[in-house]
Symmetry: C2
Subunit: 578 residues, 2 copies
């Protein structure tokens, strides 16, 4: 039986490495304890293992789109109430809105179990939480009553309707319009694409939090407002239509739709907050959505790792090098299978650590800590990207370990490989996050966030030395920190010297350098914690740390070289040269 995540690893990360208990000192979490944390996690884990995972494969199919409506897999009807019972939708919010003031860090663990078990089902937590939180933060009391409350209760789900077919990631170009009716409402017209959960048969109503341009608004991103558009208004259809279903290659239980608003010019919408502030509102909620992508990616990679591990332990084939005769051996005994498994372990547990660390900074930042906010902002593009990019590689290794069977839908790894690919694309592609990291996050406040990160790494280096982590690993981190600092300074100089194109050219290489550095740091911290214990579990953490720091971290020297020399092969390519 696939455990989805390793419970002991979660415990290790939370309590031995990332000091989850430290959060209890913050007033916001004062009512909590390690026991309440473990109870939330335990409930999610149980539902994930006993209800969500067993039906994952049969739910790996597109919903039915019929008569303009979406019908989910029938199993969703049983699972949705059970999912709501966990109380996760409002969990991280205050008791005033029905929440538990749960740290996002703990909530993230619970969600990771659910996502690892059945991504499509688990997503419904977010379809309730995201829109509710947005209205909680920026909506009027009337809107809160109307939408936030039923959303947090799961009586209604919501969507984030940003993307339009002709504009994709370029939100400045969205053309959906909103015309004042004179009675305080607006009539919205336009089409949105890739709207997750845009329709379904689980709840009667759905609210679409939609970006649109009020007539006469300024061009570009400054003229965008946020609207709440219910599917049903006073129980009657509100001119909201499913124009089409995207046939996604994975993450199938969750419909991705093309939504059409106001085909009969009768789609009524309510403004959320102030006019022209829509994009700002949306982006204030984005950190959490992006950590959520990293979380889903880490979950998808981790469940596949455990599947491959179990397969490698039980599948026998061949013999050790030079051995003739005798029974076949489990394939885990072959060096290269161990390499693939350790690579998966290093990637997936590194990704988990990254997601939990970033969630923890979000928790501390929520209490008003400016330093934590800087770290959160810096780590968010990394947390969005690393689990997705390396997770896809890790998912491919799970297929590879299964050999020919891995290439068939009789086994599960191929499904997770498909699920994973979305994570490098949605909520901003890897390239977009690389520009966010290099162009904004590390440059903000004269590089304050990066200095803070480097300070944290220095502290960890000291702790690692004290704990007796092998000197070679510690030294690699120190070298890497110098590389990161130097590369960033040189890129900043390029930008300030008037060549922003050259500065930004290798932003994806820069992101990869930073990701590798940050995850290596987290492996150093895991090694430090493991050094204080004994037994094969902790030995394994030390080996994984060694693997990542010896195999991956040295690669950043070359990435840094590409960045600072602004290697110009593709910069010089014109369309006709391809």
């Amino acid at each position: 039986m696939n455990p989805l995540l390793d419970d002991k690893t979660i415990e290790f990360l939370l309590y031995d490495v990332l000091d989850a208990e430290g959060l209890l000192k913050l007033p916001a979490f004062a009512k909590h304890s390690r026991e309440t944390f473990d109870m939330v996690i335990g409930n999610a884990r149980k539902l994930a293992r006993t209800a969500l995972f067993p039906v994952y494969r049969e739910m790996d199919q597109s919903p039915r789109f019929e008569g303009g409506r979406i019908f989910l897999h029938p199993k969703m009807r049983d699972l949705y109430p059970k999912l709501l019972e966990l109380g996760l939708a409002p969990a991280t919010r205050g008791e005033d809105v029905g929440g538990q003031s749960l740290p996002l860090m703990i909530d993230s663990v619970a969600q990771t179990y659910l996502c690892a078990a059945n991504l499509g089902v688990a997503s419904f937590v977010i379809l309730c939480r995201g829109p509710a939180h947005l209205i909680e933060a920026f909506g009027s009391d009337a809107l809160k009553k109307k939408y936030m409350e039923p959303l947090y209760a799961g009586e209604m789900t919501g969507t984030m309707a940003l993307t339009e077919p002709h504009a994709g990631s370029s939100l400045a170009d969205l053309t959906t319009t909103a015309t004042p009716t004179g009675d305080g409402d607006y009539l919205v017209r336009g089409q949105k694409i890739f709207i997750s959960g845009g329709d379904h048969d689980l709840t009667e109503n759905i609210v679409h939090l939609t970006l649109a341009r009020i007539e006469g608004a300024p061009a570009g991103t400054k003229g965008i407002s946020l609207f709440a558009i219910p599917k049903l208004r006073d129980g009657k259809p509100n001119d909201v239509h499913v124009a089409g279903m995207v046939h996604k290659i994975g993450w199938k239980a969750l419909p991705s739709l093309i939504m059409s608003f106001g085909e009969q010019n009768a789609c009524r919408a309510e403004l959320v907050g102030e006019p022209h502030q829509g994009l700002m509102y949306m982006f204030q909620m984005m950190n959490e959505a992006r950590i959520g992508v990293g979380l889903a990616a880490a979950a998808t990679a981790t469940v596949a790792y455990h599947e491959a591990l179990e397969y490698a332990r039980t599948r026998t084939q061949g013999r050790t090098l030079g051995q003739r005769g005798g029974p076949q051996i489990p394939i885990i005994a072959h060096a290269d299978v161990r390499r693939m498994l350790l690579r998966q372990k290093a990637i997936t547990e590194g990704a988990l650590a990254l997601v939990l660390l970033t969630a923890r900074y979000a928790d501390v930042a929520e209490s008003g800590d400016e330093r934590a906010k800087l770290m959160l902002d810096l780590l968010t593009p990394i947390t969005k990207s690393f689990p997705a990019e390396r997770g896809f590689e890790s998912n491919a290794l799970a297929v590879q370990i299964h050999g020919g069977y891995g290439y068939s839908s009789e086994y599960l790894p191929e499904a997770w490989l498909r699920d994973q690919k979305l994570n490098t694309i949605h909520e901003g592609t890897t390239a977009i996050h690389s520009m966010d990291l290099l162009g904004r996050k590390v440059m903000a406040k004269d590089g304050a966030a990066l200095r803070m990160l480097l300070g944290e790494v220095e502290t960890s280096i000291g702790e690692a030395k004290t704990a007796g982590v092998p000197e070679a690993l510690v030294a690699r981190l120190a070298t890497a920190a110098a590389t990161v600092a130097d590369t960033t300074m040189k890129l900043a100089a390029l930008g300030m010297g008037g060549d922003p194109e050259a500065m930004m050219r290798h932003s994806v290489d820069y992101l990869e350098m930073m990701s590798t550095f940050v995850v290596s740091w987290l492996w150093l911290r895991q090694a430090t914690a493991a050094k204080k214990k004994t037994g094969p579990f902790y030995e394994g953490k030390l080996r994984a740390a060694q693997y990542f720091i010896e195999t991956e971290l040295p690669k950043i020297a070359h990435l840094a070289h590409l960045c600072v020399t602004a290697e110009d092969s593709y910069a010089k390519m014109t369309d006709e040269m391809f």
Copy 2:
């Protein structure tokens, strides 16, 4: 319209870089000319573009398995005769068996067009050719008449029935038995898995070239014999059954089956060649099969590259860095999209060059040239692996460039991503080929093959200098050659020093180092050829060479370090540490 491959690139590789015309000097190819080469290629290209590619997507589904029989997609019935008309099944063989004595190099180009267009359909060339060639090489005249002739004519297809469910890549453990009947035939019993084309409704008969153990044969690989097992014998069923169909995730038009022989103990087989020589026979045909995998991988990556390129040229989104207002620009204008496209170009055209180079060595080796045979053997595991491993990465980039659309089956890149994954697995996994390369190919004859390769690279370096290829690129190749030589010597010393486990531990890293080196060499040769011409097409080749040599080649230093230090993280992992 997707061109599948770029015709001008093919012309460039064949005639400007890899001297296809030089083959005309060999007696075997004396009747040919550039005109006959181009005619064969032109016919395949036309069929690929006009008939195979237009139905690729609709044929991307599993065949029907009903009443113990396999029914292919109905379109296959139209396409199969057209495929046969190209005459490719026997093309590389002599006129005595209906062939054209066509160089494998030219045949490979023709096949690459077909594979790029529609992998499942194109595979039927190989289902005829492979078994026919095996019987031509090792079968009696009677067997040739009975099987080889109809196979080359496409009146019958064949299979290579090696793998068994419990043994996978470990052929020594196969248990299918063959019992002499006393009249010269054998009764075969056993089960085989992953048998491509094991049943279908295209031809009346199918012959299974099956590895089995004659009763009383020695254990291990030395007791394996090769048998011809027809589906129908004298028009009657020969106790050959489809026990199941593997639901592959890609390459779907071609069925992959579990075949059961002798369930009623009435499956008659004829021995091919001598007893106990089966594996040797099979492996003598393997080079071509492995080049074939590299070819299919290069084709699958290339067609996706062209799809992404066309999408990037026509899809508009966003603006250049710092620009506000004005119309959206084609995404090819974004630096990171150009990076992804140039990466795909460098990988796919590098892979194509590698496949054609190796095929050319096979052609020269066929004429009895021992040096060419050494190079062929050395390059085969690289040609099997690089296009598959990097091709998968390239296919994922094609999805990424398509953004959210790439994640849907409304667009084609996702299908090629699925098709591609098989190539790192079948005909020996990447790990198996890495052991073949390091344990056998580079070590054979005291390293003669590697010395020859290094000599060739030195020659190319001289030519590059003369042609005026930038000194920086040339210097990188020289450094890399030294790294390769040094790493190999140190690994050999490890092995001879009594630690073969440490020597082989990083065989996959060694393979990656060698692959990157060889493909960089091929890019240097392309740069040299491009330097002699002018225009954007050749500029593009120079940029791609720069990209690969500046971005990829320096990575081998770290791979070499892992190899020679025998980095031991996964070597030390025990089962319970995971």
